[in-house]
């Protein structure tokens, strides 16, 4: 019986195969957590461009993709990175310099848009944003919308409750589904057929994964299907949703991966310094990303001492007493 081994591939092959210039894509995780950073860096290395990115609050990964010039258009709820960047620095610059077209939603709206995609629906209703500029101000003009069949004609639609105030609701906002060409997530465990187990908060990864045409999973541990089946209740994404499985330990570094490692405050603070200056940022890209052929080399450059410092306490799932200033 075929064990689905043809889904297991290395990262550069997976990015090369599924991430095309101009494609619509998204990444999993949230701010400093479980961003598929190895995949993000590989996208930058392969100099992908004109990406249309969907994000709720994907933080570090989004900022690096934007900073490297891979992204043309961005639909987003939150471009911040916790304590490390109240507004993501390269994102902020790119918008202020007019280098990035942005359209704003709320976090729940972006989540529901992925969920609509995952459910095979054209939209989902939500009660937030009525009376706000999220409804009134559109990032993409009618002209852009009409010229691109991959962008819905309306940013969102305010509608009356068709069920005559049922559930005490009079008006509702309809947000259009997102079906990305590619979603990339990083998880603790996957098996060779593609079944995925996420530990700790799943964020919106499951919805993002199921909404996608192609799904790339990078994982800390690559298990045999029989092993994964011993923990059925802990698995969230069925193998038939998955197109590529990449075994990539430390694949979320410098963001955290619960039960495996913490975010690295040293790397993220340094990143903040580089990101605040265009020249320094170019040097950062040249040295850390383009200067390393793959994630293993990147990790070596970041330093084994950093990896040791952020290793998770086995009970708590994060690095206890990590210096996080």
């Amino acid at each position: 019986m075929n064990k689905g081994l043809e889904k297991v591939m290395d990262l550069s092959a997976a990015i090369g195969k599924f991430v095309e210039n101009g494609c619509h894509m998204c990444i999993g995780g949230f701010t400093v957590n479980r961003n598929p950073m190895a995949a993000v860096y590989e996208i930058i290395r392969q100099r992908k461009e004109n990406l249309h990115l969907y994000a709720h609050s994907n933080g570090q990964g989004v900022d690096e993709l934007v900073g490297a010039g891979c992204v043309d258009k961005l639909e987003i709820a939150y471009g911040g990175n916790g304590k490390f960047a109240s507004t993501c620095i390269r994102f902020k610059r790119a918008v202020q310099n007019g280098e990035l077209l942005v359209e704003d939603y709320s976090n729940y709206q972006m989540t529901l848009r992925f969920q609509a995609g995952a459910m095979g629906l054209p939209y989902l209703p939500v009660r937030s944003s009525l009376g706000t500029d999220i409804v009134n101000k559109w990032g993409f003009s009618r002209e852009i919308r009409n010229s691109d069949p991959k962008i819905p004609d309306d940013k969102l639609i305010v509608a009356d409750n068709p069920f005559n105030k049922w559930a005490d609701v009079e008006k509702i906002v309809l947000v259009p589904a997102i079906n990305p060409d590619v979603t990339i997530i990083h998880v603790q465990k996957a098996d060779s057929q593609g079944t995925v187990s996420i530990e700790g908060l799943p964020m919106a990864d499951v919805e993002q994964a199921k909404a996608a045409q192609y799904l790339i999973v990078t994982c800390e541990q690559l298990l045999e299907p029989d092993e994964m089946k011993k923990q059925s209740d802990m698995n969230q994404i069925p193998h038939f949703c998955v197109d590529a499985v990449v075994h990539m330990p430390w694949g979320a570094y410098p963001t955290a991966c619960y039960n495996c490692y913490d975010y690295d405050p040293v790397y993220l603070n340094n990143y903040g310094k580089f990101a605040s200056d265009d020249q320094l940022y170019r040097e950062y890209l040249d040295k850390f990303i383009h200067g390393t052929p793959h994630h293993e080399a990147f990790l070596e450059l970041a330093g084994m001492d950093r990896l040791n410092a952020v290793k998770a306490d086995p009970e708590r799932g994060y690095a206890v007493n990590l210096d996080r200033r």
Binding site: G82, G131, G317
Partner: protein
């Protein structure tokens, strides 16, 4: 009288707003600290919950982001984003949620901007954007807003209305079709602002020790009623001890 920092005062002021049994939606930083303090002081059955889906985390260390792995440890439930926001939109659980938020600009009706200064399409300054703030402000019956008291932040008109407050005053949330309520309290570096039950306009509720109502007005672009202003009770020794020793012993948020 106890010595305390402004940050400590603001945190305690927020903690006092949280009632027992409430479900506290908080962000990182001072809002989370306020929720932690409330739980230790007067609202033991309040529940801290993050938009990332973590409910009732065992916060042995202060998280530095709502997605910090520290929020995932020993939770009651590790839900998804979808679960977290549905908790607020839900008719039963939503009624118990208190939201704590911040913003770059606020107007007299408590409408918030955390998106841009200037034109939306070519902003002078770009901020993070809504995150979950617009959702919280749309859904919940009670919210607390942290702000710095500055003229450019307390503005006549927000450059971008990210999160709905009382919109244009009485009846306007209903007219837009929103549930929930506008904000109840704004906590700044100088004062605590309330919202009038009838007009839904901001008014000066309490000034901090050593601050005058006039100083507060000097730091706002719009006028508010100051006739009801009293002085805030400073934090007690007990409140401070809980805050310092139980909530942020590393001073990651309170600072040094």
């Amino acid at each position: 009288m106890a010595d305390y920092t402004l940050r400590e005062l603001m945190t305690i002021a927020a903690a006092r707003q949280i009632n027992n049994g409430e479900i506290v939606f908080c962000g990182t930083g001072i809002s989370m600290l306020a929720a932690m303090a409330a739980k230790h002081i007067s609202a033991p059955e309040s529940v801290i919950f993050f938009e990332t889906g973590a409910i009732d985390s065992k916060l042995e260390e202060v998280p530095m982001a709502v997605a910090d792995p520290r929020v995932m440890y020993a939770t009651s439930v590790n839900g998804s984003l979808a679960d977290a926001f549905a908790t607020m939109q839900n008719k039963k659980t939503g009624k118990r949620v208190v939201g704590i938020m911040g913003a770059a600009q606020i107007d007299i009706y408590g409408n918030l901007n955390s998106t841009v200064i200037g034109d939306y399409h070519r902003p002078k300054v770009r901020f993070s954007g809504s995150g979950g703030a617009c959702d919280v402000a749309s859904f919940v019956p009670k919210s607390i807003i942290f702000m710095q008291h500055e003229k450019r932040k307390f503005v006549k008109k927000v450059d971008y209305l990210t999160s709905p407050g009382w919109i244009n005053g009485p009846g306007s949330r209903e007219a837009e079709g929103l549930g929930g309520s506008g904000p109840s309290t704004v906590i700044t570096n100088m004062a605590i602002m309330g919202f009038d039950k009838i007009t839904k306009k901001m008014y000066l509720d309490k000034v901090y020790p050593g601050i005058t109502p006039e100083q507060v007005l000097d730091n706002m672009e719009f006028e508010v009623d100051i006739s009801r202003a009293g002085e805030l009770d400073p934090p007690s020794m007990d409140e401070l001890m809980v805050l310092r020793e139980k909530c942020d012993p590393q001073k990651l948020i309170l600072g040094n």
